[in-house]
Subunit: 463 residues, 3 copies
């Protein structure tokens, strides 16, 4: 434990953690080796994609026509969901003037690692809950599922944006998907709550995991250099690329896994589309109203998306089109108005949610669950709302019980995410990983080298 | 009518309109409430997506396999068309150095509102023409249709880019879709002209509506501060993102609604692809030739897309591949060469088309209709060209009559769009909405607040 | 041959080539005319898309339901592959501070021309090898094929990035697709090597063609002004847009042509996805390790994609999921570590690979072929690995022979691409085309005009 002594001459950063600047590559290689070995142990190719032979002596390849694999019908949606993770979140996180590359590149790294690691986690979680070992089939559905899990990790990154070193990021990527999948299992299989678009399973989970992590890390707002909190037009405009990618592909994100039933998938797409259109409009109205006749660009980047978050749980419900318009519209206002207030509240609690993930994903996620609960109470036949058939199989359910189960799911999700997040935050303070020095919070420059051959010219304005 | 007196202390803008800086949120809330209520009255969920039950006591959900909904086969195309609206037009409008955010964000707002409002308009227009009330089914086809209508509104925005306040934008979003749908009904159902990709229905309509609006608004080119007309590398490069998004997704835009017939949809995709490749090449050649051996970036951003606009009407025609190459190639040259000349002509008329929408959408749209007419005259079997079956049902049509009807459709479209646009322009001058002061034309800065918490740093170069 | 005398007053560039600044538009018009005429001669509309009539007197259009055209199931993948070409490569090439527009716009031009020209080349190459004339059917498959060919040309552009004038670019676009298709025919049909994702057919071919071209052009690294080799944050961040577009759509690129067999297409998608996730992680680890605890942004932009390049040949193989993870992971490290070393090696050879295409496409492409060969040797049933059925039809093949054929394919590809590339390089030195003066290497400014009407303001920082 000889951490925190002196400066590393090559990286120019203060030595911290046992491994100093080697902590990222060392842990990275360990993580990659782990992925590789566990891929060998835990995964197999999708059954329908394994080569099948027929004919004399097995000399002829069996051809499966395109239409025979309904999963491939969701390929475009899977691409959209992937684009939301890599491009949407990545560029949304480009907004800080000293952390544009940090946001884009670390987000990219998290996607690469989590997309693989999630497949291993699926196998592990299956063992935990079922007690027997079964290899994960790697197929399109598994890839879509990985998008939904990875999104939670990326949301968490938003709450500790600029506060974690690359090494600490790796640790988060290894732990959070496991916790997320365990919570998912509890909510869906034990509590019987369906959440097609992940209002609580992805969004609230990611946000409250981030809150726990942030407190566990112990980064106080007062530590953060004022200069590093600034945004500039360069970063904010790239963030708008992220916003728009997230906005337009949200229907795919919510609907991608439901390829088995065109009527539900179509309903999800329609409801999500309506909700997110509504939040785009209302978020801007609220922002303009709250800020004395001007739009706040941070709210335009984020609160416009609240409709997508909040419709996540009810997007598969069989409701009239005005319902998602209302849910999305209220979520947009709530998120936009809440931006300043919640940020202030959190800062008073001693934490800074640097990319506003609580306001975008946490609050609208919980709001979405409550809204879904109200819809369940207000309607009949609601036992058929769910995308899966859990409720139809539970006899004697009343609307009230369903509502209660939804609220319980919210509480369970917040509890698990917050506690595991906090433990994760404490874990990454163990002096193995490199830490971020206070004056380098939200500052990417120590992590990027000037390009060689073609020389990198520090740009005094946008840098 | 106490408008135009003094300055508003919070927004820093001159008070104008009865409601001043409250005009946007007030009208916005009214518009949203209108959308919400009329959604309740005028829309219903798609019939195939409504929950159906079977089995004893209706306890089992009916599952519709993915392939059974051919509309879902156009889902990817619908996403592409949406990307063109939100991302394509949005970033194309980032080109002005003082209006990058104005372009992206106001375009985003227009998409959110119009996507919803179009569904209501469909119901209204149906009542107008059929005389009986019928709810709009919200489904993928309705969403695609909303993309085609919204594109027209976004094109109109290009002609008054930087000249309208957020409140005025809302008014345009409420009126233009109605006018556009009425014109569409007249052209398709009364004149029997098919226009799969909207050469005149979307592009020419949007552009000439903008011309009318611009004149109605009465913004003279001499009012516009020279500084605010400038572009910079920052904005122009983001505009190239928009150009490329528009360019590559154009085949989807033209083909998305034709999911009923794979042979026509495929033909549309192929023809559009060929035309837009051709215009990319010829627009650059023409630009280089006209500008003394250099490419003009505004022409690269816009004229390269003229092939997509011009092939809109004939993209469903059954022609040899060299025909779309020729049409697209000529449109690219025409648009590129015309850029300077038409801009000058319009400025002499006393108007400035600030984003060049007339040259990109107006002229190539009309050219595309004329080209389609020539193809109709030059070929046999042309009564089967159309995507719909209108002409096959009209007995006794000759090629010449079809050509005449196409020309008539052009004239009707220009007349309706120009007149309604001009009236719309006069309407938004009524002192209810806030107006844009002359020295703030093409200047977004009064409409965006510095971000709070994370402080916005004005960038002296890119701002 | 009166080239190189004096300055052209309009373009401001030194007069060079017989046609000077007219060389681009003149050759461009010739190329476009050639495309147009040869489209008339060499192409026809896809058979399934040609209008068919039935009923009495042929009065009824035959409707083909969407599902009946399996090719349309790959439409989304085709769009993704097109996005990789136009948007992915385009923005990846925005990295140089004085060549952002050059990269994006010239890449765009190359796409427009090559997408058309490839269709003509298909017909020509068919005549060359089969001896009889057959029109190319323009359909989705032909468009996807054009993406794979065009990608090779864009890769080549990366090796001579900033060294060629627009006129010289046209010449490359006309010659390379022909050479590429001839090599493809030799490798697939004569040597029986399948290469679904184009590890050698697209990537290695493009890179080594570029090496030949570069040497043929005779641009020495010492000629290049130090200032012009610099990158800045503006360009490098746009390049990350390109990186992410390329990264996420790679599964589509590799799988798009295999719509006939869902099991193979799905396998390709899964394998590619795993490989590229792995290279994203390992490339960053290696970069961080090699550069003293910092990430090199050039390597983040490029080496992260090496998994996609290297899995190209084996992506259709029937292997366990850990295999592509391993191949992609090694490729990422190899590419990242090699960046500095190979650049140095090439500079010592007297050439500069300005966008690093050899390290991204050349080396990982060859590595991918060798890896595929090793997989073939290490497994049984490998005769069924290929996406096509070539090997199943060749009796008596042993694993060793297959391996040998793969190596031979690599050598043939390198030889053809290098030699034709070098000849192409010599050809564009013939004083017809304008050349780039030494002090204007990697400098776009002489090729772009300030915008008119809206005045272009040179940005002292990002320009």
């Amino acid at each position: 434990m000889v951490a925190d002594v002196g400066y590393d001459s090559l990286s120019g950063r203060k030595k911290s953690g046992m491994l100093g600047r080697f902590s990222f590559p060392v842990l990275g290689l360990v993580a990659f080796a782990l992925v590789l070995i566990l891929f060998g142990v835990c995964t197999t190719l999708d059954g329908n994609s394994i080569l099948k032979l027929e004919g004399e002596n097995g000399t002829k390849r069996v051809i499966i026509p395109a239409g025979a694999n309904p999963m491939m019908g969701s390929y475009g949606m899977m691409m959209d969901a992937t684009a939301m993770c890599v491009m949407g979140f990545g560029f949304l996180y480009a907004f800080c003037r000293k952390y544009s590359w940090g946001g884009i590149v670390f987000n990219f790294l998290m996607c690469g690692l989590c997309f693989l690691w999630c497949q291993v986690c699926t196998c592990i979680v299956h063992v935990i809950f079922s007690g027997h070992f079964q290899k994960t089939e790697i197929n399109l559905a598994a890839m879509i599922s990985a998008d939904l899990v990875t999104a939670a990790v990326l949301i968490t990154f938003g709450v500790v944006y600029g506060f974690v070193s690359p090494c600490q990021i790796l640790v988060i990527c290894l732990i959070e998907p496991l916790a997320m999948k365990i919570n998912e299992h509890i909510v869906i299989d034990f509590l019987g709550t369906s959440d097609a678009g992940g209002s609580i399973l992805t969004h609230a989970f990611g946000a409250f995991y981030g809150v726990g992590l942030n407190l566990g890390l112990g980064i106080k707002p007062k530590y953060i250099p004022e200069e590093n909190r600034k945004t500039n037009k360069f970063g904010d405009t790239f963030a708008l690329v992220g916003t728009i990618v997230l906005w337009m592909f949200w229907p795919s994100f919510n609907g991608s896994l439901l390829y088995d039933d065109a009527s539900v998938q179509h309903r999800v797409v329609v409801n999500t589309y309506l909700a997110i259109c509504a939040s785009c409009v209302t978020a801007m109205i609220a922002s303009h109203l709250v800020h004395g006749g001007k739009l706040n660009i941070l709210e335009v980047q984020n609160a416009t998306l609240a409709g997508g978050v909040s419709i996540g749980m009810s997007c598969s419900y069989n409701v009239n089109p005005w319902v998602p318009v209302l849910i999305g519209g209220l979520a947009g206002m709530l998120s936009s108005v809440g931006y300043g207030k919640i940020a202030e509240f959190l800062e008073n609690l001693g934490m800074m949610d640097s990319a506003g993930a609580v306001q975008l994903h946490g609050i609208p996620g919980v709001f979405g669950a409550v809204a879904a609960g109200i819809v369940v109470i207000a309607t009949t036949n609601n036992q058929y709302f769910a995308a899966d058939t859990v409720w139809t199989e539970m006899d004697g359910n009343t609307n009230g019980k369903q509502f209660g189960m939804i609220l319980l799911s919210v509480l369970v999700t917040i509890a698990i995410s917050f506690v595991v997040g906090a433990l994760n935050g404490l874990l990454v303070r163990v002096p193995i990983c490199e830490k971020v020095e206070s004056h380098l919070l939200i500052d990417e420059t120590p992590y990027f080298e000037l390009t060689q051959g073609i020389v990198y010219k520090a740009d005094p304005v946008s840098q």
